[in-house]
């Protein structure tokens, strides 16, 4: 049956996609028939989670290579889709377009960084790690450098980086679940966790892979359909990504007209911001350019060292498939990322253009407050209209919004039917769940395989190992949901930190492990500890202790401190100590040659 499944993937996911489109049409018909928006939101979220759960249960397994690396038989294209879902988080889905709306050009450093990182993954990492045959990222560190202490350091960096990230994802599932199902956020978080665990508990990587493919299909449809609809409605055609250039130029004129960036807000509302950054104003000074470049660099190197991304490439059938799979991944990610700035631009255009019915800037406050979508989103604290200067007219610095609103409220701002809002909710849920699944699995696998099996009890039987893996998954998930329910950080701050932690601690030990034979255990340990500790200390200094950022390196960019420390520590300490033995050097040679078996046995 399993061979059949892999051979019929095209048919199965084709049917699934058709079924999902039919479901959307059915919901549209129900809406016309007078079914309430609440019920439609319920059905969207419930139906999609039900499907993921079904896939999760059908993919259950008790074999270690299935549980850890999906049996290494995921075709390149499908692994690309799964990686794209694994990668695009609730933050990408919900906050990206809003970030561009508010942050303008400077925010697009995230777009460049989160795609360009895959060039590093393809050329420096993925094919070699696939050849190595490891189950987890610390598995590579532990075997290449030898010794439990190196392995343990890698586990610690992995856990810190991924855990920071996963709480943000569970937070996002909680937010979407709370809104769609009308339950309190605290309950929504646990509900979201239950959905995530159903997908991953029974089948590990195998189940997560096949649910992520399903989740990619839902999230990309949910992201692109409203934008295409909105674009077509406002005369920009069916491929808005290629035709919004005129809209950008028009927005630039409107921003000058409404004095964006000149009028600063005079009031503050928690979690909300007014628009002050023009859409296309790249800074002219060295500092502006430096800040753009450093953010790009941190996000790229973080991408190439985040274990939940790297471990996806352990599942392909060959080294060759791993390489091409990185290409598919970035293509599928590109579909969403090149749509996000289009969405941000259209939203700006609709709100700012006085010639459009949707334009609200420059209208009277009473008129704006009477709009249905304004009232609805103000009621849930996503938006605030405040006549700061008391002239009765809404100026650009008097409209305060939460960044997620750009994606979530687009259908309503543009006057699309409610079925589209339901679709967007299902998409946001899919994005957050798929990333959370990948992250939880990365953490739990590192703890069960590297900490428990390799360090604590190397004699453990397969059955025990897989039971321990599941108990840890449950425990880590519960810890994540608990932290998420405390609402400690905003979604984006935490997401960028995960990348900085990962690149500070893991980037050079991974790269040099493949590309520099002379790198040895002492060097790798120095690199991991030095990078991770210096990066974290700088984060503490600049974000918590109120320190002045040095060279514009703020808390989003602390990898710029961690990475060079890691590189220098690793090179200096490696050169000061003995070179690795013959066996290790032969191992590096084997990793560099695609032909031949993996370095580690398939059931290690």
């Amino acid at each position: 049956m399993k061979g059949d499944f892999i051979q019929n993937l095209g048919k199965i996911y084709g049917l699934y996609t058709g079924g999902f489109l039919l479901f959307i049409i059915l919901m549209a018909i129900l809406e016309q028939a007078g079914v309430s928006p609440d019920t439609i939101g319920y059905l969207f979220v419930g139906f999609t989670i039900g499907i993921y759960a079904l896939i999760g249960v059908l993919s259950r397994t008790m074999a270690t290579d299935q549980y850890y690396v999906a049996g290494r038989q995921v075709p390149a294209l499908y692994n690309g889709m799964a990686t794209a879902a694994d990668w695009m988080s609730g933050a990408s889905f919900v906050a990206m377009a809003g970030g561009i709306y508010f942050g303008g050009y400077g925010y697009m450093a995230f777009l460049v960084g989160w795609t360009g990182g895959y060039v590093l993954v393809a050329s420096l990492m993925a094919p070699y790690l696939r050849k190595f045959g490891c189950y987890t990222v610390p598995d590579f560190i532990g075997t290449r450098y030898g010794g439990n202490f190196a392995r343990l350091c890698a586990v610690i960096v992995l856990v810190v980086a991924s855990f920071t990230y996963v709480t943000a994802q569970i937070n996002a599932t909680g937010t979407v679940a709370a809104r769609a199902l009308q339950i309190p956020f605290g309950v929504g978080v646990w509900f979201g966790l239950a959905g995530i665990l159903v997908c991953s508990m029974l089948g590990g990587m195998r189940a997560v892979t096949w649910t992520q493919v399903a989740q990619y299909i839902v999230l990309i449809i949910a992201y692109v359909v409203p934008v295409v609809w909105m674009s077509n409605k406002s005369g920009f055609g069916l491929i808005p990504q290629l035709s919004y250039g005129d809209a950008v130029q028009r927005v630039q004129e409107l921003e000058a007209l409404h004095q964006v960036g000149v009028l600063k807000p005079t009031e503050t509302f928690a979690g909300l911001s007014a628009l002050v950054n023009p859409i296309n104003a790249p800074g002219e000074t060295f500092m502006d350019k430096w800040k753009f470049a450093t953010l790009v660099l941190c996000m790229m190197c973080g991408t190439a060292s985040l274990p939940h991304v790297l471990m996806r490439y352990f599942t392909t059938p060959s080294v060759r498939a791993a390489r091409i799979s990185v290409g598919w991944s970035i293509l599928f990610i590109f579909f969403l990322y090149f749509t996000a700035p289009a969405l941000a631009t259209f939203t700006k255009l609709s709100l700012l253009d006085p010639n459009l019915a949707t334009g609200i800037i420059g209208k009277s406050i009473t008129e704006v407050n009477a709009l249905e979508w304004i009232q609805k989103w103000a009621a849930v604290d996503f938006l605030q209209v405040s006549d700061s200067n008391g002239d009765g007219i809404l100026q650009i610095n008097e409209l305060f919004m939460r960044s997620g609103i750009v994606v979530l409220a687009t259908p309503e701002i543009a006057g699309l039917p409610y079925v589209i809002s339901g679709l967007v909710a299902a998409g946001g849920m899919a994005a957050a769940m798929s990333t959370a699944d990948g992250l939880l699995l990365a953490i739990a696998n590192a703890l069960s395989h590297d900490l428990y099996y390799k360090i604590i009890d190397p004699q453990a039987e397969t059955k025990t190992r897989l039971i321990v893996a599941r108990i840890l998954l449950l425990g880590v998930g519960a810890a994540g949901a608990f932290v998420a329910s405390l609402k400690l950080t905003s979604i984006l701050g935490a997401v960028a930190w995960a990348f900085d932690f990962a690149c500070s601690g893991l980037f050079f030990p991974l790269v040099l492990g493949i590309w520099w034979k002379r790198a040895n255990r002492q060097g790798a340990i120095a690199g991991m500890i030095g990078g991770f500790v210096s990066g974290s200390a700088y984060l503490y200094y600049v974000h918590f202790a109120g320190g002045e950022p040095w060279m514009g390196i703020d808390h989003l960019r602390f990898g710029i401190i961690g990475m060079p420390v890691s590189l220098i520590a690793m090179i200096v300490v490696s050169l000061m100590t003995e070179e690795p033995d013959e066996e290790t050097q032969a191992m590096v040679d084997a990793v560099r040659t695609p032909r031949g078996g993996t370095v580690l046995a398939s059931n290690h």
């Binding site: 393809a122 035709s243 032909r595």
Partner: protein
């Protein structure tokens, strides 16, 4: 054994060469282009100001192309040196 070693060494030299080429192109689209965004905005492409276009779409597309090109080029190198995996490994 000596020939196997020299073949391995030659394969690795070519692989390194390709990787360096990829990283140079990557560096241009990741950093150089955006450094000059204000100047690029003087030009326009498909109706977009060029500086905006590169950050919002152009560089992203370039990365997609680089990776697919790299995968093909590396496969050719592997085949040339006889170190590619067998065709049925992909299934």
């Amino acid at each position: 054994m000596a020939t196997a070693d020299s073949n391995h060494e030659a394969h690795w030299q070519r692989t390194k060469g390709l990787t360096i080429t990829v990283l140079v192109i990557w560096f241009i689209f990741a950093f150089v282009v955006h450094w000059f965004a204000p100047q690029l905005n003087e030009f326009s492409i498909l109706g977009f100001p060029l500086g905006f276009y590169m950050a919002g779409q152009g560089s992203l597309f370039a990365f997609v192309v680089i990776i697919f090109w790299f995968a093909r080029a590396q496969n050719r190198i592997d085949e040339e040196f006889g170190v590619a995996e067998d065709a049925d490994d992909d299934e």
